[in-house]
Amino acid sequence: MSAFANSLASAAVVVTVGAVVVLWRHRLRSIVAALSVQGVALAATAALLGIHEHDRGLLAVAGLVLLVKAAVVPGLLARVVAANPGARESDPLVNVPASLVVAGLLTLGAFVAARPIVALVGGPTGRLVPLGLATVLIGFFAMVARRRAMSQVVGLLLVDNGIALVAFLVTSGVPVIVEFGSTLDVLFGVVVLRVLLARLSAAGFSDLDQLRSLHD
């Protein structure tokens, strides 16, 4: 196995592990930090692929990803967390051990689900696709299983990161323009979410279970 394949695999694994860490840790600060690490790993993936394929556009995207997903977005979230540094995901809907078991199962499921893609792409990149899909599913699960609004935002970003990982791996990045667009959209989305987070805390909502006034 080449050094490229090894390093690519390591980066991808870091992305997935970052997702697992989000499920694992209670403290919101740690969670945001994990997200930041994941952003770095994602940028690394893009960069590795860009170097390997001699694709300048992809390198530019890697830069953008590093900026947005490793710095700006976690930074924005960190500022929210900083307002309440001790905030914890103290009583998740699904407790941590069970969440980790689920994460394991989801990873297995991702391996099953990604078979068509693996079969089509093959090679060192194709084999890593399940990790990206696992990240997507774990992120989705985090949104379902965590009470804090911040956790949910992080879960959503995990989903995005997982998708980005899949995109880099299978296609060496969707055309750069789209990638730019989607990354900016994520940025906008996070800005909007941040505003909402601020309004939520201003309105005195500490966790999402309190958002139950709209129902049938």
Binding site: P116, V166, A167, V174, G189, R199, L214, D216
Partner: protein, 477 residues
């Protein structure tokens, strides 16, 4: 000419952003919607005459032209009503001038994003446009700054973002299939559709599933539908009208376009099974939620789900007849649902509530509002002379004609249950005694009446949309 479509919303949006809010600004917004409508008609004429316009990223074919017309029409209705809506809000002190300005800007952005979504010939641009609608409308849903509105916008953005992310995953996977089939421009609808037979079937199956799931979220389909009643219930009435009347349909149209590719690659069975399953599930969920519904706006929201379900089922069946029905249905539903949300907004303003149980005697108390509600509900339930009747009947005929008589039976059964439920709620709201009777201003009744008239017109008279509809249906049949 395609780019001109964005000019009017852009100008109106900029003006609203930069100048202090006053009714003239809102009127400018309405003018922009009118421009979109007129341009849509112009494009439609040209497309009918000389085929699709543009290529590459933006392309207007018959379907796009038709959807632009729908967007223009419902936007016109919503923006015209926005004028008095905002004036009332500002006067009553419910919103500041700054909020009104933000509202006007965002509505223009919303319109532009929807137009972009329907004229996009690129999967990526389509995705960006639909994501943009989410970002823009989140603040519109939260316009009222109440805890409930905040809650609704949170749920809206969280749920829709997940859905739209999954759609992006699907887009990526489809792109992958295109790349591997050496399609020249693998994000282009036209190229993908032309080479669809070469694509890797299992991957396309996965991609189509993800895309239906993702865009289905924005279209209010099962399973991620729950944002819809909350958002539609909390958003300002004109925004609800736009979201329910066109946004859902725009998302659905993305599924329609991608279905064509899926069918060419996979054959008709898989897309049919998938869309039938989702469509019927959506219908059933909407029906049970309507049974004991307690709020008018949520009732309208679930009814939107119902209609999306009907269209999804018909799209699953496929064929020119079914798709003609779907497209006419988009128009009819857009107009009628727009009218109903605007009417419900006025009811909320005047009565202070949209609780069904508290509205008793509306027909006697506010004859015009009540009558519009009654007529609109009748149209929504697929009663003639509204076009929804013709389109539903067309879809049912297509279902039976395709040998799927059980689908027609299920749809009709669910529709009958929904009808009984909405009729019961309508009875509670509309009928009954009332001490006094208040007339409503013509400025309210006239636009809504015109829109209802249009919905009737297209149910009775095929002209002038018949040819455009058949062309558009041919694209996605």
């Amino acid at each position: 000419m395609v780019y001109w479509l964005f000019l009017a919303p852009l100008v109106a949006g900029l003006v609203a952003m930069l100048s202090p809010w006053r009714p003239a600004v809102a009127w400018l917004g309405a003018t922009s919607a009118l421009v979109v409508l007129v341009l849509g008609v112009g494009l439609a004429v040209r497309v009918e005459h000389s085929g699709p316009i543009g290529s590459g990223v933006l392309r207007v074919d018959a379907l796009a032209a038709f959807l632009v017309i729908v967007i223009g029409a419902v936007s016109l209705l919503a923006t015209v009503r926005s004028v008095s809506y905002l004036s009332n809000e500002v006067q009553a002190g419910h919103s500041t001038l700054r909020h009104a300005a933000l509202y006007s800007t965002l509505v223009q952005g919303f319109i532009a994003a929807m137009v972009l979504a329907v004229v996009a010939n690129n999967l990526g641009v389509l995705w960006v446009a639909i994501e943009a609608t989410t970002v823009v409308t989140t603040f519109l849903v939260g316009h009222h700054r109440t805890p409930a509105a905040l809650e609704a916008s949170w749920k809206y953005i969280i749920i829709c973002s997940v859905g739209i992310a999954v759609a992006f995953l699907g887009t990526t996977v489809l792109y992958l299939a295109g790349v591997h089939a050496h399609v020249a421009n693998p994000l282009d609808f036209t190229s993908l559709a032309a080479h669809a037979a070469l694509l890797n079937a299992p991957v396309v199956r996965l991609a189509f599933t993800l895309i239906v799931f993702g865009y289905g979220t924005k279209a209010g389909l099962v399973p991620l539908f729950s944002w819809l009643p909350d958002a539609h219930g909390q958003a300002p009435a004109p925004v609800s009208a736009l979201m329910s009347g066109v946004l859902l349909s725009v998302a659905l149209s993305a599924i329609l376009r991608l279905r064509v590719i899926a069918v060419s690659t996979l054959g008709p069975t898989f897309p049919r099974v998938l869309l039938l399953a989702i469509g019927i599930a959506t219908l059933v969920v909407a029906a049970v939620m309507l049974l004991a519904q307690r709020d008018l706006k949520r009732l309208l929201a679930y009814s939107s789900m119902e209609h999306m379900g009907i269209m999804t089922v018909a799209a699953g069946v496929g064929g020119p007849l079914a798709l003609s029905g779907v497209l006419l249905h988009i128009l009819g539903h857009g107009l009628v649902k727009g009218v109903l949300f605007l009417d419900a907004g006025e009811v909320l303003r005047l009565e202070g509530t949209t609780r069904i149980a508290r509205l008793g005697g509306l027909l006697a108390r506010r004859p015009a509002l009540g009558a519009i509600l009654a007529i609109g509900l009748a149209g929504l339930l697929g009663l003639p002379p509204f076009s929804i009747f013709v389109s539903e009947l067309t879809m049912l005929r297509a279902e039976a004609g395709a040998g799927l008589w059980w689908v027609a039976a299920v749809v009709l059964g669910v529709l009958a249950i929904i009808l009984a439920a909405i009729l019961a709620h309508g009875r509670t709201m509309l009928l009954g005694p009332s001490e006094q009777s208040t007339r409503s201003p013509v400025s309210l009744v006239a636009p809504l009446g015109v829109a209802l008239g249009a919905a009737v017109w297209f149910g009775l008279v095929a002209w002038p949309l018949a040819h455009l509809l058949s062309l558009a249906a041919g694209i996605v049949a």
